[in-house]
Amino acid sequence: MKATDLIGCAVYAADGEELGHVHDLRLESDGKPEDGDWRCRLTGLVCGSSAIGHRLGYGTGDMAGPWPLTSLLARWRRRSLTVPWRDVDELQPGRITLRTSRRQLEQMQR
């Protein structure tokens, strides 16, 4: 499986609601590469309406400005959802179906 098989896919909740497209992958690892024996797991899909904030580095990065972008993109960022990989029910080309609904996901993120 490649990153491009996931990024850009439309994501649907269990009840058929469209949650947007995958625009980033959440990777988790124990330690860092320099510690040796580095393993990195795909633990979640970030989906939402727009990938631009993430792309530019305003998703999680530590950005000092410029002012209109920081607040605007932080707001977009809050509107995106991270879906845990274990909630993925079915992978089809261009389409991902989840086992949970938007409500359940939003509750988990809180």
Binding site: L56, G61, M63, A64, G65, P66, W67, P68
Partner: protein, 409 residues
């Protein structure tokens, strides 16, 4: 002492590097047609160039990122590819203009048609890219480019109406007989001549070539914050010198030789010789920088090894791109298309394309992960954002202006 010399050399190089065929042509034309009423466009363009060059230099020295690494990283593969193609084509157009400029200077000196000179100039330029060490390439022509100071000298010899120039600069009005679209078309051209995208690509990649580290930030700031504004002043001097000489006679500048006319009138043949030396050095250096920039931006997009710090055999794709750029630009200018028109079109399209390159620089300069405590301060961000808005408006206005005015005719 050596440190001082080095700093001075850097500033001088930045001054010489700022002025290229775009500035020569646009300053000459506008001085003759609009007097000093368009000085504001050079001032705004120079401030923008200075702010963004400082940012790009800092990102290169501290963050280790060159412009097109940042472009690909922040804009994503697709947008960055479009960006790379647009910037590459624009570079070719600018390179063609510079080649034409050098050849025109040689025509003025020898009387031999410039088309004969174009392939020779191109071959020598490529040889310089292939063989000359980076610092030589940069410094030698930067220093020679300072010969353009002769325009400042000429200003004092000519019957310059300082009060009138001052009035027109700070209270600009569209001169009688000129339409607003034409006026703004030339404003965009002056703006674009100051802000050409290749200069920022070159400045940031040049930083890696010279192995800038976070400790080099002071040196880099000297170069950009002193050198570029002085370069802008030179552009203004060229424009002002045209006012008392070319404007009263209604000369429509269509040839590089006419730009040097005020110097000839003020200082005779010696002045002309110095001015032509300045033209030659400035356009030749800019041409080489343009070709190198094309290599830099394509190599950086694909992650290929690049730069003059490598032997050509260790960065073959980079040198292949530089060679191809020189060949393509030579072919283009040999179609006998008028070099002055090519220059005008290249600076105007450059003004339209500028946000593509500058926006990612602004973003990365704000990333604390790369920049640590060297991120943009409020001043850089305010000016940077303001200029981005100005540049966006300019870039939206560019194409309509280009068509309405039929390239300023």
């Amino acid at each position: 002492m050596k440190k001082f010399l080095q700093l001075g050399l850097g500033v001088v190089t930045a001054v010489g590097g700022f002025v290229d065929i775009g500035n020569l042509v646009t300053s000459g034309i506008t001085g003759a047609r609009f007097g000093a009423s368009l000085t504001w466009a050079i001032i705004i363009g120079t401030i923008g160039m200075t702010v963004y060059a400082e940012m790009a230099g800092r990102v290169s020295a501290v963050g280790g990122r060159t412009v097109f690494h940042a472009v690909r990283e922040r804009l994503g593969v697709r947008t960055a590819l479009v960006n790379m193609i647009a910037s590459g084509l624009l570079n070719l157009l600018t390179l063609a203009a510079e080649l034409g400029g050098v050849a025109l200077v040689l025509q003025l000196v020898t009387g031999v048609n410039y088309l004969i000179w174009v392939p020779i100039v191109a071959a020598v330029m490529w040889l310089a890219i292939w063989r000359l060490p980076f610092t030589w390439l940069e410094n030698l022509f930067g220093v020679l480019g300072l010969a353009l100071i002769v325009f400042v000298v000429a200003l004092f010899k000519l019957p310059t109406d300082w009060h009138g120039l001052w009035q027109q600069t700070w209270h600009p009005r569209v001169p009688n007989g000129e339409g607003h679209p034409t006026y703004f078309f030339y404003a965009v051209s002056l703006f674009g001549a100051c802000l050409v995208p290749y200069q920022v690509v070159f400045f940031s990649s040049g930083g890696r070539e010279e192995k800038w580290s976070p400790g080099s930030v002071t040196e880099m700031r000297m170069n950009s914050l002193i050198g570029f504004p002085l370069g802008g002043l030179l552009s203004i001097a060229i424009m002002f010198a045209a006012v008392p000489v070319l404007q009263p006679r209604g000369v429509d500048v269509a040839h590089l030789g006419q730009v040097a006319l005020p110097v000839t009138q003020a200082l005779g043949v010696t002045g002309l010789a110095i001015a032509l030396l300045g033209f030659f050095a400035a356009t030749f250096a800019a041409g080489a920088e343009c070709a190198l920039s094309t290599g830099y931006l394509i190599s950086q997009y694909f992650g290929w090894p690049w730069g003059k710090m490598h032997r050509p055999a260790a960065a073959p794709q980079f040198h292949l791109v530089c060679l191809a750029a020189v060949i393509a630009a030579t072919g283009f200018i040999l179609t006998t298309i008028d070099p002055v028109t090519v220059t005008l079109v290249s600076v105007v399209l450059g003004a339209a394309a500028v946000p593509l390159t500058y926006f990612p620089v602004l973003i990365v300069a704000n990333d604390r992960d790369y920049m640590g405590d060297r991120v943009n301060r409020r001043l850089s961000n305010t000016l940077g954002t303001l200029f981005l808005v100005v540049m966006l408006v300019t870039s939206l206005a560019t194409l309509p202006l280009l068509f309405i005015t039929k390239a300023g005719l």
